[in-house]
Each structure stands twice: as structure tokens, then as C-alpha cells.
Amino acid sequence: MADDDFPEGPARDALSVADRLAAEALIVDVDGFEGPLDLLLTLARRQKVDLRAISVLQLARQYLLFVERARQLRLELAADYLVMAAWLAFLKSRLLLPPDPEEEVSAEDLAAHLAFQLERLEAMRKAAAQLMARDQLGRDVFARGQPEERGHTRRVTYTASLLDLMQGYARLRTREDFRPFVMDRVDVFTMEEALARLRPLMGATVEWTDLVAFLPEEWRGHPKRRRSATASTFAATLELAKRGGLELRQDDMFGPIRIRARA
């Protein structure tokens, strides 16, 4: 099957030109496609054969060409188009190679499934069209225009649909998701705290001193607390440096950050 579908020489070039033109026409309204399968179905229809007789190899080539052209035009293609392209490229290579007896699933099986998917999608499209073409209530067929309600027993009953219920619940849950965000402050050393701690210490810091030395003792042990204290102390030194109270230096990347009071 693979060989038959791979035209050689000039025939192949002619096909490519046709493919190119087709692809260009398609690119214009790429947004009109509902996903890669839809695009594949459209390309398949161009082969003008029964979907069961489709050449998956040719289809894969057309699809890849399409994606290639879209890229050249710098069109953004959604990720699933690219996933499909990758898969089709894989399938194409498998179809062209002699079958590997080691492989559990043959390339032909994969191709057949793709053809099945296309056929099924097209079948559902047709079914949908047939369904919508039926006589519809309120358009072609009508219910009683004047339902009669008589009698005098008036009983009120309440009703709700499952959708109401689900929407109600969704509403509640969504509200929870949106509750104002409150930072868990147990392990957070704020910059205010860091500033308050640094200021009195700075005056005595004439020598270059590692930033770490300024972390409060009780914030050095636990990694989480240590990270928070380091971050806020660093931010505080930046703030003080900005105000001209101290100098910072870091001799190499990821090296210790050292500070001293400005002379």
C-alpha cells in the first residue's frame, strides 16, 4: 500500500503543487477548523475517494505540508495541530519502512484507525445534518397553542432541575475559590521586621559582613523560615542602600552577599 501511494518523479511534483495550492487555500481560514481531525477530514475529502479507500500516507503528507506552510507564514498553530503533525510524521515514516515484526501495532493498524476516526466523524456530521433536517417542534410541528388549565384546586409545588442544583453548587464552590487571599504569615519574616532589625545593627557594621549574619537566630534553622528571612533581609538592605545608609557587594554569581555601613 505504501509504495503505490507514493508517486515518483514529475507526478510527485505535480501533486506537490496541487497540495501547495490546496494548503494555501486552507490556511486562509485555519480558524474555521475545529481541530486537527476536522482539518484531516477536509484534506481527506479532497482525495475524492471513499473514506475507506483513503491513502493515509498521502493524507499525512498533505497535513504535514499544511503545517509547514502555516509555519512559513508564521501562523500560530494550536498545540494539538502540532501534536497531530508529530504523530503523522511518525506514522508516515513507519508506513514507508518495511514492517518491523517486533512492533506490536503495525503502521497499517494505526493508519486504519485514523481512517476509521475520519469516517466516524464524517458519519456523525451527516447524522447531525439529518437530525437538524427533521421536522422540529416549534418550527415544523406544533404543540397545543392554548394549553387548558381549569379547575379550582390550586396547589403550589416547587421544582428545580439538576442543572439548577449543579449551578448552585458550582456557584458556592466558585465563591470559595475566590475568597480573599490571606497569606499564611506564620513563617514569613516581613521586610518591616527586617528593616527594624537591620537599622540599629548597621551603625556598627564597618567591615564587609555576610548578609546571613544578620538573620535572627530563630530564623536560621527551618529552611522555610530561613528563606523568608533571607529574602526580606535582602530586600531591606536594598531599601537601606537606596537611602544611602549602606553598601552591598557580591563578588561572584551566587556568592555571599556582603554589606557594610556607608562611610
Binding site: 390550586r154 403550589v156 416547587y158 421544582t159 442544583l165 448552585g168 475559590d177 475566590f178
Partner: protein
């Protein structure tokens, strides 16, 4: 009888047409209105006459209402229609939310419902749901005060077409169906311990 230049539909057809028009119309139709809708050349009075005869003695009668015509159920069968006047109203939002909480969280106490809804639950709401036979009392919770719990009923499941409360769609499915608009943190896992991850040590907002 007077066949006009163009073929008027046969009498039987005209009768069918008038029958369908009167059935579907939301208000009685006059002969003039019928003629306006029927194909050219129809004889509405004649069709009405035939129709009236056809429905004689049936459960439905062709009645004259002023100068217009309408189908009405036979007066002697009015006793059957009395049940028609059950008035159905939409359940209030409070009741729907309360019901949803009971369904999703049962057995659930009143205090828990209030915690989830964030407002107090009026007595009337619970009573209404119990009267509808959609919720009932479950076992008492074995906690201080032994509060009563609420669960949904068989009638609830029937009304909403559910086999069991487990058939209610989960949060993920609600979201998948587009009913939940927000995208909360992955899996909305509320575990406190793991919440602040590595990146959370981002510095607090710089002061101005």
C-alpha cells in the same frame, strides 16, 4: 364547490389545515384570520362546519368564541383537568444552594450548611425542602450537642433522575461542563502544610 382558477386543496385537506391551525394557535382564530393563512381558494366556514361535526361528542370540541373559533376540551370532562392547575415555581436560590449542599455533603448539619453558604439558613428553607420530601433527617452527629443531620431522599433522586447521590457530578466535571468558571489552584487541595511551596518566599510587596 366553486373551484377557482387555481386548484384549491380538496375539502378533506382544507379541514386538516383548519384543524392544525386552530390546534396550534395561541388564541381563537376568526374566519378572516383562517383565510389569511390558508391557501388561496379555501372555504374556511365549510371546513369549520365539517370539523365541528367531526368533533361532535369527542373529548375535544370545536367551539365558537365570539366571532372566532377554538378547540376546547369537553365541558363534561372538566373534572379531569382540575389537576392541571398545580402551579410550579422555581425553587429559590437559597433553597437550591441548601439542597445542593445537602446532596453533595450529606449527612450534613445545619451549622455546616451555614458555614459553606456563608449565611444563616432560614428555618423556612429547611422546612420547604422537607415538605417537598427532598431532604430528611439523618442520624444525629456524635459530637457535642448531638446536632441533627440532613440527607437527601429517594424522592430527591427520582426528581433529579439520579440513581444515587454518588451520581452527582464532581467538581472537576462541573468545571469540565463549563459550570465552574474559575480555575482554582491545581486540585484545590486545601492542605495547609504543603501550601506554601518553594516559590512562596517571594518578598512581600516593597514598601513605598
Amino acid at each position: 364547490m366553486t373551484d377557482s382558477l387555481f386548484e384549491a386543496p380538496p375539502e378533506g385537506e382544507q379541514e386538516r389545515m383548519v384543524e392544525a391551525l386552530l390546534f396550534a394557535s395561541a388564541a381563537p382564530l376568526t374566519v378572516g384570520e383562517l383565510h389569511a393563512r390558508l391557501p388561496h381558494g379555501c372555504d374556511a366556514p365549510r371546513a369549520l362546519e365539517r370539523l365541528a361535526r367531526r368533533y361532535e361528542g369527542r373529548g375535544v370540541r370545536l367551539m365558537r368564541v365570539g366571532d372566532a373559533w377554538a378547540f376546547r376540551t369537553a365541558a363534561d370532562l372538566a373534572f379531569l383537568m382540575t389537576r392541571e392547575t398545580v402551579e410550579t415555581r422555581k425553587l429559590s436560590r437559597a433553597a437550591i444552594e441548601t439542597l445542593a449542599i445537602v446532596a453533595y455533603h450529606q449527612p450534613v448539619t445545619r451549622a455546616e450548611i451555614e458555614e459553606i453558604r456563608g449565611v444563616s439558613v432560614s428555618k423556612g428553607t429547611i422546612e420547604q425542602l422537607m415538605e417537598l420530601d427532598w431532604i430528611r433527617l439523618g442520624k444525629r452527629r456524635q459530637t457535642p450537642g448531638r446536632p441533627v443531620t440532613f440527607v437527601v431522599t429517594r424522592a430527591f433522586l427520582d426528581h433529579f433522575g439520579l440513581e444515587s447521590p454518588r451520581d452527582l457530578p464532581g467538581l472537576k466535571e462541573l468545571r469540565a461542563a463549563g459550570l465552574l468558571e474559575s480555575t482554582p489552584p491545581p486540585d484545590a487541595a486545601p492542605e495547609e502544610e504543603e501550601a506554601p511551596q518553594e516559590d512562596l518566599f517571594a518578598p512581600p510587596p516593597p514598601e513605598g
